[in-house]
């Protein structure tokens, strides 16, 4: 009993240092979230000062809303393709830049650079590239190119290219760090046992790199499910709703259509989906990791 009290007194210090963070989290995340839940049960238009409670109507309407399912389809298509591509490309670059390449620090910087500029800027640069830069450049070689962002069949892929270009930096660094954490003697002994480079990669490097794979797929997947800024500045959901994702859909409902209450309900549904996706993903990947 005495010792418990002592421990508490000793640990109080740490709690004090936690207070600012907890306060910030409470006021910036939890409170808005709770008031968001409240608004999701109203028919608030975003301007008026009256709140009319309408029970579960927003949620019922949302689940019956065919647009929500199309939009979710777009979002997952974008997120899954992007997650696979970003991880594949980032791992490839990491393997390349972890080997003894001349000027590898320079290359690391160059490949990381796109991550430094803001998404908004990248969006503007690429819409210009797509609509003016590339067509004019390729016109010199007799290729007739139109902006993929202006065609509903290709717009989503146009966005994915921008996101890959911009998104590989951070995962690449994590992979490089992961690769450097793998003891050299393991791959060396595998090589002595007669394994080729591919075999070494598959049986030694990749299993030991699994924690990095978990964190990278998790970060990229949840990040790309929440994509908003890139879509808003490049296509704004068009053409013909081909690139409408859940975040822009919520935004348009809440702000352009003056249905803030409905938008909140959609946000809550999206929140639940995100939580489920994350839990499922973490459990699957954790099982496959190898502890050293």
């Amino acid at each position: 009993m005495e010792s418990l009290k002592k421990t508490i007194r000793r640990e109080m210090w740490y709690i004090l240092f936690l207070v600012p963070g907890v306060l910030l989290f409470t006021f910036a995340v939890i409170l808005p979230f709770v008031s968001g839940i409240r608004y999701s049960f109203t028919s608030w238009d975003g301007i008026s000062r009256k709140l009319t409670y309408i029970g579960w109507d927003n949620y019922v309407n949302a689940l019956q809303d065919a647009d929500l399912w199309t939009v979710l389809g777009n979002t997952f298509k974008y997120a899954i393709i992007l997650t696979l591509l970003v991880n594949f490309v980032a791992l490839l670059f990491a393997l390349l830049l972890d080997s003894y390449l001349p000027l590898r620090n320079l290359f690391r910087t160059i490949f990381f650079l796109p991550s430094v500029i803001s998404v908004i800027l990248a969006g503007f640069i690429w819409s210009y590239n797509y609509s003016q830069g590339f067509p004019r450049l390729l016109a010199n070689f007799g290729v007739d190119l139109t902006s993929p962002l202006g065609n509903p069949d290709r717009a989503l892929y146009g966005l994915i290219i921008i996101a890959v270009w911009q998104g590989i930096g951070a995962p690449m660094i994590i992979y490089i760090a992961g690769l450097q954490g793998i003891p050299a003697e393991l791959s060396e002994s595998a090589r002595i046992d007669g394994a080729g480079p591919l075999r070494v990669f598959r049986n030694v490097t990749l299993p030991l790199l699994a924690p990095s794979v978990t964190i990278n797929t998790l970060l990229v997947l949840t990040g790309s499910l929440k994509v908003f800024d890139l879509v808003l500045v490049t296509t704004n959901g068009g053409p013909g709703f081909a690139t409408e994702v859940i975040a822009t859909f919520i935004y348009k409902n809440a702000f352009s259509s003056f249905k803030a209450g409905y938008g909140m309900a959609l946000s809550m549904i999206f929140f639940v989906i995100l939580v489920i996706v994350t839990i499922v993903q973490v459990t699957i990947f954790r099982k496959r990791e190898v502890e050293m």
Binding site: S131, S147, G150, P239, F241
Partner: protein, 449 residues
């Protein structure tokens, strides 16, 4: 090392937190006095009467947010003149792109961030803000008497004026005179003639229409004029939008919906390459470089065209009303109010705000506006000389052959954005006209739940 880092981090956190708290308490103070604001707004007349007395008080700053971001320089000139005449008042101008304006304004007002003076469009948006209690009643202000009673009546909300009319202008088709003359094309007065002209231009390997539909609003602007014009003037469904708002009318029962979709397809077909990949600026560029023969637009690209191609601006281009139908008698000149000005009912510097509005309503300010922003103004006695191309429209002004399709639209639901997205599906054969008309009706029904 780690401990130091931790300490540094917590200090940083603490600072941001405290900073945030400070910001909050300020906001609370200003937001917590709706009763005061209401009491103040009840007596606008007495307030403006007491304005001269407070002349020698300390300088105040009023914020002015507007959506004419392409006219930032011109507005800066007006503000500069106003500030030199009223040294006690500073105006903090916040230009916002039109597409983002509504959201930003709404967020600012809802979060208690007070914008003293801001632009609004007359009609349903003004009503929403008026019903939210954010607008000061301007009806009895002295400067409102300088405007035409007809204009005031058109921009009134529930019988009172909450916004001051400011600028207006035609929305029509710019055309390249040289291309038209070379191909022997007369100015089209019917829709079929317009498309025949477009075909001729296309056959010559030129681009008939510069579209710029990558941005949402150019397509939306065209759609929200072609459709109501055809609905009310051609199909004579005068109460269509009233009924649509109440859920009693359907796009499926309005033949104009099909007409507009067909027109949109024509526009798309005769538009520039990569219609949905080029934005508004790209379209203006194309027209200024004389690559495209026509562009459906308001007068606002004029300063831009003047900069890029002065020769075209001075003599090379004309402007004709967009013929939405095949009856030349119906195809009048579309003339719309643009930005109107509102004063926030919770503003702490209303006298200064009223002074600013009174200045905007004066002839010198209106002339600066006309000269630099290149749109017409409602201020009486102001110049109308905005560009050589516009003088061609003089007969329409003289004969009163003007109309405003926007007064037909009485809905508060934003069907335009939805319609423009759906119609893009038709461009790429992702849906038929029937499909999207049904989708539109479903969408409207969903919004009335």
């Amino acid at each position: 090392m780690n401990k130091k880092l931790g300490l540094g981090l917590s200090i940083a956190l603490m600072t941001t937190l405290l900073g945030a708290c400070g910001g909050n308490s300020n906001n609370n103070n200003s937001a917590a006095s709706p009763t005061n604001a209401a009491a103040e707004s009840a007596s606008p007349a007495t307030e403006s009467a007491s304005a001269p007395a407070s002349e020698e008080t300390e300088p105040v700053t009023i914020s002015f947010m507007h959506f004419k971001s392409d006219a930032t320089d011109g507005i800066a000139k007006i503000v500069e003149q106003f500030e030199s005449e009223n040294p006690n008042i500073k105006v903090d101008v916040q230009p916002v792109k039109f597409d983002d304006y509504a959201t930003l304004l709404k967020t600012k007002l809802a979060s208690g961030d007070i914008v003293d003076v801001f632009t609004l469009n007359a009609g349903s948006t003004t009503k929403l803000y008026k019903d939210g209690g954010y607008l000061e009643d301007l009806t009895d202000q002295e400067f409102m008497k300088t405007f035409d009673p007809g204009v005031l009546a058109e921009q009134a909300t529930d019988g009172r004026n909450f916004i001051m009319p400011l600028n207006a202008g035609p929305i029509a088709v710019f055309y390249n005179k040289k291309i038209f003359a070379d191909l022997g094309i007369e100015i089209p007065t019917t829709y079929d003639a317009l498309i025949a002209a477009a075909q001729k231009i296309k056959d010559e390997g030129k681009t008939p229409f510069a579209l710029g539909w990558k941005d949402g609003w150019p397509l939306g602007m065209w759609l929200s004029r072609d459709f109501p014009s055809n609905t009310v003037l051609v199909e004579k469904q005068t109460d269509f939008f009233d009924k649509l708002e109440k859920g009693e009318a359907k796009f499926a029962d309005n033949p104009a919906a099909k007409t507009t979709i067909a027109h949109a397809l024509d526009m798309f077909k005769y538009g520039n390459k990569d219609q949905l990949g080029v934005d508004y600026n790209g379209a203006v560029d194309m027209f200024a470089r004389e690559e495209a023969a026509m562009m459906y637009m308001g007068t606002w690209p004029l300063p831009d065209i003047e900069k890029k191609n002065p020769e075209l601006f001075a003599t090379g281009m004309g402007y004709f009303p967009y013929p939405f139908s095949n009856d030349p008698a119906l195809n009048k000149l579309e003339f719309n109010p643009d930005a109107s000005i509102a004063v926030n009912s919770k503003s702490e510097h209303k006298e200064a705000a009223f002074k600013f509005l009174a200045y905007l309503a004066s002839v010198p300010a209106a002339n600066t506006w006309v000269e630099n922003v290149k749109t017409l103004t409602y201020v009486k006695g102001a110049s109308t000389d905005i560009a050589p191309a516009i003088t061609e429209l003089q007969p329409y002004f003289d004969n009163g052959q003007l109309y405003n399709s926007q007064v037909f639209i009485t809905t508060t639901i934003d069907w335009t954005t939805q319609f423009s997205q759906y119609v893009q599906k038709v461009f790429f054969n992702k849906a038929t006209a029937e499909d999207i008309i049904k989708d539109l009706d479903d969408w409207v029904a969903k919004n009335h739940k």
